[in-house]
């Protein structure tokens, strides 16, 4: 029966396998739609236990009983006390309520050996409820109850009632209930119309960040949708129209919540978990390392847990390493190696391939069942090793290079005997090599520090030892260059070598030797304060703008008196010249002019002390126009007098000439 579907499946799987074979990190960056998604959320064993505990509660009413009993059965377990549960159902069923009958029917079906007896009237009631006049919810419960009690049901009529009712109730929950109803109807009826609703519902899902897919109505609705889809698809024999990525995104959304507020929510998640772990079409695979994904010589075996969404191990699967590549060099270290099964754990001895230490990208594929999806997994595995320090040479090198350097070899972990001196005419040098103890290859760890510590002052200076082209680490201490780091504090320093890396199992802190450092005594070293970086700094006093330097008051007063002296000189000169105001005519225009002019000068003073330009201009306009008019009249009169005087004098001159 499934051969047609199997070939369809291998074709689909082939397409999925082809599209899924790209390398990327388990931490999930969804880059392009052709790359397959890896599940981020699933039910771990603890989550499953917690879910079972939240379902296995004493029930208050038949609805709670239904959720508990049926939910637990989907997870593969039974209620703690089956007999008591059966009795509870029998005593609490309400024959007049379709909902109560539905809960009783389904719960009793889930309990082995539990039969609820119902009368003919109840059967009639249920049949009557399957009509266009009832809501989809009622039709669903009635059909479910009839099916649960094993009563006959006219599937075609039920289907038509359902379809017509569904066209009136267009919401998501009603459609999901229609899917569930259809899974109770006979396969003879034409359920393709209902099956098409699955595709419409998938289109209504919201994509959150490419990771989650859920209905805006919430988690419960999404979980019920998944359960209903698979139960209908299994019943009808058609694969649900959902892509692999969509299924994984739905999984992520449904299993992201681990604590449930209501029993119905827990029930919905249990149904979804049950349907995703056991259906005819899609089986999501979860591959997790057992413990940290790290191997070393002490622990050479990489252990993987390969499970379904409920953390039930898939022992029938064939797990294979497609290829393992070094993360840094991208060179392939191993490929096409199968994993061995050992009690639900899949194992591979990676150290047999003698990998160098570092990080590796593993591409793992899980096969064995055509239903498997998300079965291509990328994993980052760390290979650790132990480091050994060899060829450690301490030497004092003369700056003039006149004397040959004295070299002392030290073996780890011993300390060099005697102390070494570094002062103004000799440098201290250190060289060493780092090798992988197990393979003998040279290592370049991340941290290779040389630490000099002064026990008396508490000073500590750390330098980095750099490898040269032959991977030999060298460090040289020149007192002249490094004066500032040490604050010119001479003394005996203990030298430590610090070697560390994420892939080293044995980080090293080794007291190699004592070094006496003498700095040239140019300046007396300031009291060595250990560099206190985090104490309050000295307060900055704000410098207010200093007032300008002014001359002393005596000087400025003297000048003020002095500046009036030309005025006195003026008056004296005027008197000497004989300037007078004897010609002053007391005409009104003259008086007004002089008063106006004086007022204008007074206005200048008032402007200086009090007014602003606008006010001054206003007053000046008034005074000015008055003064102008008066002055004009006055000057005109003067002009007339002057012309008359000139004419009379000219006349007089003319007369005398004649």
């Amino acid at each position: 029966m499934t051969s047609v579907y199997e070939t369809k499946y291998t074709l689909f799987n082939g397409i999925f396998l082809f599209s899924g074979s790209h390398t990327f990190i388990l931490a999930l960056t969804f880059v392009a739609s052709i790359q397959a998604l890896t599940p981020t959320h699933y039910l771990t064993r603890r989550d499953v236990e917690r879910l079972k505990a939240s379902l296995d509660r004493p029930f208050n009413d038949i609805e709670a009983a239904f959720y508990s009993i049926v939910g637990l059965s989907k997870l593969g377990v039974q209620v703690s006390d089956e007999q008591a549960a059966c009795n509870f159902i029998k005593s609490n069923v309400d024959p007049s309520s379709v909902d109560s009958l539905f809960y009783a029917a389904q719960a009793s079906q889930a309990l082995p050996g539990c039969e609820v007896v119902i009368s003919n009237e109840t059967g009639e009631l249920l049949l009557a409820a399957v009509s266009e006049d009832s809501s989809v919810n009622q039709i669903f419960h009635a059909v479910g109850a009839l099916s649960g009690f094993g009563l006959p049901l006219a599937s075609q009529e039920a289907l038509s009632a359902l379809t017509s009712r569904l066209s009136k109730e267009e919401n998501v929950l009603a459609t999901i209930q229609a899917l569930q109803t259809a899974s109770y109807l006979s396969q003879q009826a034409d359920l393709s119309g209902i099956v098409e609703e699955i595709e419409d519902l998938v289109a209504r899902l919201d994509d959150l960040g490419g990771v989650y897919l859920q209905f805006e109505e919430g988690l419960e609705t999404t979980a019920l949708f998944v359960a209903a889809t698979y139960s209908l698809s299994d019943h009808v024999g058609t694969e649900p129209a959902m892509k692999e990525d969509q299924i994984i995104q739905l999984m992520n959304a449904i299993f992201s919540k681990k604590n449930f507020e209501t029993l119905s929510e827990a029930f919905s998640v249990a149904c979804a978990a049950g349907s995703l772990s056991q259906n005819r079409y899609h089986l999501p695979v979860i591959v997790v390392p057992d413990g940290p994904a790290a191997v070393s010589h002490h622990q050479p075996i990489l252990r993987l847990q390969v499970t379904n969404v409920m953390s039930q191990p898939l022992t029938q699967a064939a797990v294979k390493l497609d290829h393992a590549k070094s993360a840094s060099t991208k060179a392939s270290v191993l490929h096409q190696m199968p994993f061995a099964v050992s009690e639900d754990i899949f194992e591979l001895n990676f150290m047999n391939a003698k990998p160098a230490s570092g990080y590796y990208d593993f591409s793992i594929s899980v096969d064995g069942d055509s239903r498997l999806i998300a079965n291509k997994v990328e994993l980052k595995v760390k290979v650790s090793t132990e480091v050994g320090i060899t060829n450690v040479d301490l030497s004092t090198v003369d700056k003039d290079q006149s004397i040959a350097p004295k070299t002392t070899r030290v073996a780890y972990p011993a300390k060099a005997k005697g102390s070494f001196t570094a002062d103004s005419h000799q440098n201290f040098a250190l060289s060493f090599q780092l090798v992988d103890v197990n393979s003998g290859a040279e290592l370049i760890p991340h941290q290779t520090f040389v630490r000099l510590h002064n026990p008396k002052t508490g000073q500590e200076v750390v330098f980095v030892a750099e490898p040269d082209s032959k991977n030999v680490y060298k460090f040289e201490l020149d007192t002249a260059e490094r004066k500032t780091e040490f604050d010119s504090a001479s003394g005996t320093y203990t030298l430590y070598l610090i070697i560390g890396d994420a892939t080293l199992e044995n980080p090293i802190l080794w007291n190699v030797a004592d070094v006496v450092i003498k700095f040239p005594e140019e300046e007396a070293p300031s009291t060595v304060q250990s560099k206190k970086l985090f104490i309050p700094k000295p307060e900055i006093q704000h410098l207010f703008r200093e007032p300008e330097k002014r001359p002393p008051t005596v000087v400025s007063n003297t000048f003020t008196a002095l500046i009036l002296s030309p005025l006195f000189l003026l008056f004296i000169l005027w008197i000497k010249i004989g300037a007078n105001i004897s010609n002053f005519s007391f005409a009104p225009s003259t008086i007004i002019f002089h008063l106006g002019h004086a007022a204008m000068l007074g206005l200048m003073y008032v402007y200086w002390t009090q007014l602003n330009m606008f006010q001054t201009l206003k007053y000046l306009a008034i005074l000015g126009s008055v003064t102008f008019l008066a002055g004009n009249r006055m000057l005109a009169q003067k002009a007339v007098k002057r012309i008359a005087a000139e004419q009379s004098s000219r006349l007089a001159k003319y007369r005398t000439l004649r």
Partner: protein
């Protein structure tokens, strides 16, 4: 008259004495009054400048306003003197001495307004 001693100084001295004599006889008294005013303004400006050189330019705007007042008044006085000098009558046909004086007053008013604004 010029003595034997300091003949160079003597010639300068005689030029100066002659100039003063000509000036006092040849200039109308009205013009001499104006000249005295001009001398006053000149001295005033020079004193202000000297003071500024001495003690520094601290309130620079005050120094500038005072100095510009002196300079401006001097210029306006000189203009007035040129315009009312009867010897220049030919150059200033349409401008009577009264008109010149009115112009002088008007310009002085504006100058004083600006100076007072700037003195601070």
């Amino acid at each position: 008259m010029s003595g034997a001693a300091g003949s160079g100084g003597g010639s300068v001295g005689s030029v100066v004495r002659r100039f003063l004599a000509e000036y006092s006889s040849g200039t109308a008294s009205r013009l001499k009054v104006l000249d005295a005013y001009l001398l006053y303004v000149l001295l005033s400006g020079a004193l202000q400048f000297g003071y500024c050189l001495g003690v520094g330019t601290f309130p620079f705007n005050s120094f500038l306003s005072g100095f510009i007042s002196a300079v401006g008044s001097f210029i306006l006085g000189v203009c007035l003197r040129i315009q009312i000098n009867p010897q220049n009558k030919g150059d200033f046909q349409g401008i009577s001495p009264e008109r010149a004086f009115a112009d002088f007053l008007f310009a002085s008013t504006i100058l004083h307004l600006v100076v007072i604004n700037f003195v601070g």
